[in-house]
Amino acid sequence: MLDKPASLIGNPIIRGVTVLLLGPILLFALYVQWHGDYGPGGGFQAGVIFAVAIIAHGLIFGVSVTQRMITPDAVRYGAVAGWMLYLLTGLVSMLKGAEFLNYSVLVHDPLHGQHYGILSIELGVGITVASVMIMLFYSFVGGGRNT
């Protein structure tokens, strides 16, 4: 089982390297998330990178340790919340008098409105993607026939 591959979990080098790398990976995910306007990247990639960091933690330290930090319930709510954020952004622009998902009306200046709208939906995409990826990982390692 994944909770006890003694060679992986017991190895101090792998643990140390993982601890060192987790922070930069998470930071890079956030960078990709918020910098998607200016460089390559965006919600999808950021969500995946974020999930990779969490999954690496789960592989090295054992899934139950990770699940105490990020519970399966939190992941499930996250998957819904991200999509809802996307939908809500669209609905708010509808309430402000434009078409669904037309961000130009979100604030006074159309360009700023577009900017905030894109940031908001990218955040929604990122949350959903990261949550679903972590959810997949939890299901794969948690629901096998060995349990």
Binding site: Y38, A79, F140
Partner: protein, 181 residues
């Protein structure tokens, strides 16, 4: 190189090596996209194909074992159909415009409008983002929905085990605590 890796992938019976080869295949395609100046696609391919898919494969392998059984059926008809369809597709690709041809339909329909008006209409310097998130916002909403639906599907198939196990872990840790105290 892509072809070599692909062929090796089919021949392999060791699933662990196959997972690694899929990852290499993704990295190679990422380089390939990079050479075509499609940075966003390359980035996605590297993160999704080489990164998380490999990790998920490995997680699955830890559940199902790493050696594939020898298949008993002989899928010759399937092979024939595949070859036929591949042949048709390659034949159809002869009619496609050359790569980078400025008069190709893709470059003369909506692309010029995006390129010309995106800075004043949407703003972000990365036009991929403005097309993806603003002009094509509906599509991206749908894609996010697809990801969400996929997650729900997996959860429905494998979910009960997840929950039971989590509860068991909680119970075990509480037991430990009460034993210690």
């Amino acid at each position: 190189m892509l072809l070599v890796v692909g062929a090796a992938l089919i021949a392999l019976r060791d699933l662990f090596a196959a997972a690694m080869l899929t990852s290499i295949y993704s990295l190679l395609s990422a380089c390939f996209f990079m050479l075509q100046d499609a940075v966003d696609v390359a980035f996605t391919e590297a993160a999704v194909g080489a990164g998380i898919t490999t990790v998920l494969f490995l997680a699955t392998l830890s559940q199902v074992g790493r050696v594939e059984r020898k298949p008993r059926n002989k899928p010759w008809p399937a092979l024939m159909i595949c070859t036929l369809v591949a042949g048709l597709l390659i034949y159809a690709s002869f009619d496609m415009p050359h790569y980078g041809d400025p008069t190709a339909p893709v470059h003369s329909h909506v692309a010029p409008r995006y390129l010309n008006d995106s800075p004043s209409e949407v703003g972000p310097p990365n036009m991929v983002t403005s097309v993806l998130a603003s002009y094509r916002g509906y599509d991206t909403l749908g894609e996010t929905g697809v990801v969400f639906t996929a997650g729900v599907g997996v959860l429905l198939l494998l979910g009960p085990g997840l929950r039971r196990r989590y509860r068991k872990d909680i119970a075990a840790s509480e037991q430990e605590k009460s034993d210690a105290g």
